[in-house]
């Protein structure tokens, strides 16, 4: 069972929130002693998802949790927005698919960089993405 050890919320509404947000994620990763490679993967995935939230949904909220499961600890991030939602999730998860004329690597790339990835979306209501990176994952 995954237990939450600490929680922190941050709302994202402007581009200038991205750098402080990345710093908060880094603090959580450093707190549990996550190595530099996993830290970099986690923060890069987080950066992709927070940018999506900001760009396609005009902002939202991120829940930053330090979690543990047995002896393993990790960082879990939940990105919640009330934007337009995503109509076709499997299309959105394809490398190179973008409605924003960018690289289309954010969602599929973020999934590759973490240990657990969950995407839920309802058109007209919003999108929630949850990622989890284990310290030794």
């Amino acid at each position: 069972m995954v237990i939450t050890l600490s929680k922190d919320r941050m709302s994202i509404s402007r581009e200038q929130d991205l750098v402080p947000f990345r710093n908060r994620v880094k603090e959580a990763a450093v707190k549990i002693g996550m190595g530099i490679v996993n830290q970099t993967k986690l923060i890069t995935a987080a950066s992709e998802l927070v940018r999506n939230m900001f760009r396609y949904a005009g902002g939202g909220e991120v829940l930053i949790e330090v979690v543990s499961k047995g002896r393993e600890s990790g960082v879990r991030l939940t990105f919640t927005d009330k934007g337009p939602g995503i109509a076709d999730l499997s299309l959105a998860m394809q490398d190179g698919y973008s409605t924003g004329k960018s690289l289309g690597l954010g969602l599929p790339g973020a999934k590759r960089l973490v240990n657990e990835f969950d995407l839920k979306s309802t058109v007209g209501q919003g999108t929630t993405v949850t990622i989890l990176k284990w310290k030794n994952g």
Partner: protein, 132 residues
Amino acid sequence: MDKIPILRMGPFLLVTIQVDLYDRLALNLESDLVQKVHQTGARGVLIDISAVSIVDSFMGRILGNIASMTRVLDAETVVVGMQPAVAITLIELGLSLKGVHTALDVERGMALLQEKLDWDTDVADDDGDNIE
């Protein structure tokens, strides 16, 4: 508005990115660099990212854009000093940085640009009528 300084070193331009860039700053750098290459006729651009801890697909796209735009203006771009964790992450993210040259540090990046410049000059010479 903040700006990232662009230094001129002979035929090359050098940019050292000291902070994690927010998007606007990265976009400004893209347009400033292209303008500067155009103004100075620089033949190469060195971008030192040794202090950068995160390169996501946005930043990767900017680096790619800089490389392709400067190439049109006859200048090669070399990205130097990428941290190993950043390089590993970029590959998993799926970003190939196609068309962007990379080198371990500024010195080697400079050597790479110089080599390309010398090679270009040689080719130009060979087009002439001088007989070996």
